[in-house]
């Protein structure tokens, strides 16, 4: 409770209480992540039912540029790993700039991912592979777009965390927030494993 009402940093009395509360919050965040997993899973299921519904329009072999997908995969994995390194700097060194440096690596990598993905979207648009063309394309845009929006949201969150670290330093509360953000970030990487394997690689196999 004291953490909720006491937004002032560095005043967190009762260390064990704070720790227990942080754990409860992490579990609560897991519940959110799992509900998000259900959302993604069902959009995957819809994609599965639409996989063959190209209606004579552009199909998987037209929209899949494996080099671009490989690059996006590497960038997102790099971002996930950079975030882990930021968490470890926070956990073991308590150094603000070191943590911020790794957060910047994670953010740059994720931003590059979004740019490469946006280029793909633009190419699809130019070849007439727009969502309204076929059931397959609707499902493709919905699934890949939903993941992209999540990554964009994560970038906003990362910017907010950077601001908070600059303003308040690495307080217990900030550490707990960064931990939760880590769950979200690694979860998005797991969703991407599903997308590159099942949507793109399986599409052209």
């Amino acid at each position: 409770m004291s953490q909720e009402t006491n937004v002032h940093p560095g005043m967190n009395l009762g260390y064990t209480d704070g720790e227990r509360e942080a754990e409860v919050k992490v579990f609560g965040f897991w519940v959110f992540v799992m509900s998000d997993l259900v959302t993604f899973g069902l959009v995957f299921a819809i994609f599965g039912t639409m996989a063959g519904a190209t209606a004579g329009g552009p199909g998987p072999e037209d929209v899949t540029d494996l080099k671009s997908i490989a690059l996006q995969t590497a960038l997102l994995l790099g971002s996930s790993f950079g975030f882990s390194w930021a968490s470890l700097s926070m956990k073991y060194h308590d150094q603000r700039w070191r943590t911020l440096g790794w957060l910047a690596v994670a953010a740059t990598s994720a931003l590059s991912f979004l740019i490469v993905e946006a280029i793909d979207f633009r190419d699809w648009y130019h070849m007439g592979a727009v969502p309204q063309r076929s059931g397959y394309l609707s499902a493709l845009w919905a699934l890949v777009g939903l993941h992209g929006l999540h990554v964009a949201g994560g970038l906003v969150w990362m910017a907010a965390m950077t601001g908070q670290i600059l303003r308040y330093g690495l307080t217990d509360q900030i550490k707990s927030r960064v931990t939760r953000m880590g769950l979200y970030w690694h979860f998005l990487d797991i969703v991407w494993i599903g997308i590159f394997s099942m949507v793109f690689l399986a599409g052209v196999a």
Binding site: V38, L77, L88, G182
Partner: protein
């Protein structure tokens, strides 16, 4: 105090020991992820596998990589303190499987009948 500083600098104290172990664990996770990803892309791009094998291979590689990510990056394991996280994850997967496979099954059956 000075001895502690020296120990820290030489990475001799137990905290550094723990840190190194954790970093090594993340590195192993990263290497496994890269290998599994490369294997997925290679199975499609090299054309070494018979066509019928590619899809099952992709499914197995993706599931393996998901388990690696859950274990290394999301710290899911079988220890007692984390039992709740694991149970939540497994229950979600159960519900999701029922909904997702149910959808695929019904829609596939429907399209066969049409």
């Amino acid at each position: 105090m000075k001895l502690d500083d020296l120990k820290t600098r030489l990475m001799l104290d137990s905290r550094n020991e723990e840190e190194r172990a954790e970093r090594r664990f993340y590195f192993i996770g990263l290497i496994l992820s890269v290998l599994l990803t490369v294997a997925s892309f290679a199975s499609v791009m090299t054309g070494l596998l018979p066509r019928a094998w590619i899809f099952p291979t992709l499914v197995i590689l993706a599931l393996t990589q998901i388990v690696v990510h859950l274990r290394v990056f999301l710290h899911i394991d079988l220890s007692r303190q984390k039992r709740e996280d694991l149970q939540l994850l497994l229950f979600t997967i159960l519900l999701l499987s029922i909904m997702a496979f149910g959808t695929l099954w019904i829609m596939a059956s429907l399209s066969v009948r049409m």
